[in-house]
Symmetry: C2
């Protein structure tokens, strides 16, 4: 009897899933994508790998899709959101650090001298990261990030940074999940900077966020267990680091990869060189009116090799200007 | 219309899930656990955290359960399975390395001199790991592990190691998943040693396996992208490393933790010191007839502090002898 009951519920469940799949196929879950080659390529790929019995069928457990974050899921201009966070944190912490007034790179930050910050190079950046990202527990850092995101505003749009997410990409994430994909973020940004908002904003739970990290240590603080963040780089999830980050966290090769800069090149290369049908897409920032137009010459999100080799590698280049009806949700 | 259709399917899905949950509660999904305090504690905890509207309700996305592997999900006597793999690999590779005949620790391995191997300490062990686990791609290593598991036999039971998994724990994994939990392995063993069998044997996909690792590098080998395994320790997922490994990979604190040795102490401590209802369980190896009896004095899977502090910390100690009707699936 009990067994029968379990079987019955499994049948109902299967029916529900089938219904869902039909609904997902029937409805247009990508309304912000213009009809055309790019949208067609996405939908056709998903149809092929989810067609049971088809030659390109991929089991649900292997349906892994990876997304870069900065410039792919949300805006990265005029500077990476995490850099804006660092600058704000330095200013907020400055009263407790009078010595920063005389000390690079903090002095440059407080003077709003971005050229001076840039001149500090990697060493200067590491000092900023150490001062703003380390020396606290993971839970404390999560609270700091959450508070900042609730109040900080993007300089051009005067909206919370989490509204600078791309509407077509949010639809794409949901569309892939409706088709049995597990969606991952694979970003050069800090993993504990992204996790506090990724679930709410993208529907991506913390365990599906892969990023750069500083080292941490487990210890008792006042008798209470804590993960403490240390002022030392642990892992850089960028360029050739992305396939390593993917292998470490997921342990299998993705089926689809989405990026926007040459920092994503190796991730797309690794994904699309696997056996069977694979999909790679580059978001091309060519819309100076609704967003920004930049590629080969940009310091942020430089894209050159990806543009040069996309065609021969079979990667789709999505034009923000032509392929996206809407960029941000707040647009009329 | 389309929207209505999607709503309808969501309702059917919710109904199916509700039916499933009822079935899971009604049926005994833990038949290899004897009725008693231990089984009751597990079932009661799961009922409380899954009771919608109840004071201890935990959302499905936060239902994270972590399991040690060696000694918790499968046998670790007379030696860790991965150590048996290392010894077999050294013997298999020896014809290509004539110099090993004169060289510690390889000489000791080939002579079956375990005391000699142990005398080599950490340095010797690292040399063995480098010789057997590195210098190949991740895909090649996966193939080596898979082949070995298919042919190697446990010395006492003369069965594949994957049959040395504990039946009650396999039931527990499935029971928790039926109740909306995500089940993770968090082991001191190598992550790429476990992933090749974890999905088939435990139903745990590679992305839910956390373990120790050596460093890797992404590179082109003969023009083909590959993840290459390097002879350098990357992360040791043991003792205080376990909470760090959990935070790095999952990004939130588990609700339930299962271990068997003092190597799991910090994982249980971290899990059960979180807010709300938490659950910690230690598998106590006290059955010399069906398995092995060992704890405080054992070199493998030493358990002392866990036994001393379990009661005051509210951790359940499961007795293999009294709580498990069956240890292995192959038992009559």
């Amino acid at each position: 009897m009990q067994r029968q009951r379990r079987l019955m519920s499994a049948t109902v469940l299967a029916a529900a899933f089938a219904l869902c799949a039909t609904a997902a196929a029937a409805a247009d879950l990508l309304p912000s994508w213009r009809e055309g080659k790019t949208k067609q390529a996405i939908v056709q790929f998903v149809n092929e790998v989810t067609a049971g019995g088809g030659p390109h069928y991929v089991r649900p457990t292997e349906r892994i899709a990876v997304f870069d974050n900065d410039g792919t899921l949300w805006a990265e201009q005029p500077m990476y959101v995490q850099l804006a966070f660092v600058l704000d944190r330095v200013k907020a912490l400055a009263p407790r650090h009078p010595e920063w007034k005389e000390k690079a790179p903090f002095r440059s930050v407080m003077a709003g001298d971005m050229a001076g910050v840039a001149a500090g190079g990697e060493k200067g950046l590491l000092e900023l990261v150490a001062a703003t990202h380390a020396g606290m527990t993971s839970e404390e850092f999560t609270a700091v990030v959450t508070d900042w995101l609730a109040t900080a505003r993007h300089p051009r749009f005067n909206r919370p940074y989490t509204e600078l997410t791309y509407r077509p990409m949010l639809e794409l994430l949901a569309y892939l999940r409706a088709n049995g994909f597990k969606t991952y973020i694979v970003s050069g940004g800090g993993v504990e900077f992204m996790r506090p908002f990724a679930e709410k904003v993208y529907g991506i739970p913390p365990e599906q966020v892969i990023g750069s990290s500083i080292k941490t240590r487990y210890e008792l603080r006042d008798g209470k267990p804590a993960i403490v963040r240390l002022p030392e780089i642990g892992f850089v999830d960028d360029k050739a680091g992305k396939p390593v980050g993917i292998q470490t966290a997921i342990g299998r090769r993705p089926v689809m990869a989405f990026g926007n800069s040459d920092g994503d090149f190796e991730m797309l290369e690794w994904t699309t060189s696997g056996p069977g049908l694979r999909f790679g897409l580059i978001v091309h920032h060519d819309d100076a009116v609704r967003e920004w137009a930049y590629d080969r010459e940009s310091h942020v999100g430089r894209l050159a090799r990806g543009l040069d080799e996309a065609q021969q590698r079979g990667w789709v280049v999505a034009s923000m200007q032509r392929d996206w009806k809407r960029v941000f949700a707040f647009e009329k």
